[in-house]
Amino acid sequence: MKTAIRFKDVSKIYSLKSGDVIALDHVSLSIDEGEFIAIMGPSGSGKSTLLNMMGCLDTPTDGEVFISDQNIGEMSDDQLTILRRRHLGFIFQQFNLIPLLSAIENVRLPLILNGGSDVCTDRCRNILSAVGISEERLEHKPSELSGGQQQRVAIARALINNPEILLADEPTGNLDTKTGAQIMDLLSHLRKEEGKTIIMVTHDPTLSRYADRVINIVDGRIQ
């Protein structure tokens, strides 16, 4: 099994006026391709920092982080952005669709950023229908969609460039239980059928049953 993500003795220290804050304290971990990982822990435990680092939005103060075998500590901002674009998909608690764009345009956006033409609507349509968005909603703006629909569009957007790794930050946090369960089923389907590596941060212990492995983090340390 190939390793998708590897942390080698990683520390992250934020320097604030009130003193240094240790967000990650000598963390080492390794996640294989195709694993479904749940990261759990109390607020301020460092799980967001862990996820941000996996998402190449943050770089370590100490230690090394490898995403798809690339050491992110040695990469420029542009290189990290290209890495995100090609290998990572983000799913947020707040859905975070671009309000100016319609559902299908939101999905098409990463494709265009990746140098694709803006007429590849077939792929967008297929992915949107695969995540359960019906044809007549394609031209709707995010504000005209329900929370569940928005999250489905967001998942389609995360999938469009066919990334190996999906990063989900409380993906069901803003949804009711029933819709949340549907989204979780969709994620585990993606892992099973398409072999995506999925890393999910959550507060909700009931969601851990979807995961192959749970990483508990407290005070910047893995328990």
């Binding site: 939005l57 995100r84 975070n96 671009i98 100016l100 956006l109 950023l113 803006d118 957007r157």
Partner: protein, 392 residues
Amino acid sequence: MNRPIFLLFAVRNLRLHWLRSLLAMIGIIIGVVAITSMGILGSSLVLSISEDLTTVGDTIVVIPHTGGSAMGRGGGIASDDLITSRQLERITRASVPHTVIPVYSGGERIRVGGETGYAALYGMRTSDVPLLLELSDGQYLRGASGAMVGPRLAETYSMKTGSRFSIGAFGQSLRVVGILEERGMGFDINSDNAVIVSDRWFESTYSPTGYDSVIVKVRSLEEIEGVKESIEKSLNRRETEVDVYDTRAILSTILETFGRISTFTIAIGGISLIVAGVSIFNVMMMSVMERYREIGVLRSIGCLRREIRRMFFYESLLLGIAGSLVGGLLSVAGGYVALLIMLENTSYLLAPSSLIYIPIGMVFGVGTSVLSGLYPAWKASEANPIEALRHE
């Protein structure tokens, strides 16, 4: 890489906040109209002035050192400050081989039919008249009798070739032999409202002791400086006897002055463009702050810093282009109004040197918006994606 998606973002965001965009655009429109109308006004001012002036640059005017300026002569015949025939000889020698035209000047009452009035009077050698003035009707002076009249004077008193009028306190009668071509305001003589008589008639009537001015027609512009120096050297070595003016220098001084006035008015117009720039800056900063979270999302799904920059840059560019286009169109009307109020003459509105201010104003308009958009765009691109994503 061609990514029209960022242009699309800009267009949609401007449309979404249409009132804000419109207000920012109006700022640019006003700025462009202000600059352009002021430019048109200045250019028309220069054009109208230079058309009024006789633009011959090949003339040197010599006048006695004291007693009136080059442009204010014709006040009285009894002036003591005249150019004597000895001085004239020295001027002639200094100016060889150029043409020297001594001129008597004065003013006198005239009477045409029942009307009386006052006219400038110039006495010249009859052979010199064709060198200086153009004829529009009749013929040039030949003998000692007869007179030529300027076109405006002829119009005022309805004089034609062959008309008679009387001049002076004793009512000497003169016949109009020719009407002059309109010449505009000159630095040498102002003939449009004048009566031109022969030097012999002038001498026998007034017995002057010298000439009021001497005009030297120089063959080519390059020689003006040399002739001027030579006259100065010949007459003004010991004491300043005469003042020597060359019309080209006077003309360029006047045009330069008006050029400065016009630059100043454009600068005032520029202030309104600066205000417009501040308002664009403000709108762009608002746009960046409002969409801070969106910037975070875009960064996380793979937008490069320069792509974020471009997205906001397009917004200010579009505002600038739209504002400048409308401003450019409106400034034709703005220029018209400015000319109507300030010059009461709109005939120079469509002159190329006026119209050039429209593209200039538009370039300044676009430039101002682009400059105002630079910092907000940079600010947006420098946003930390993690902080931006957390932004509410």
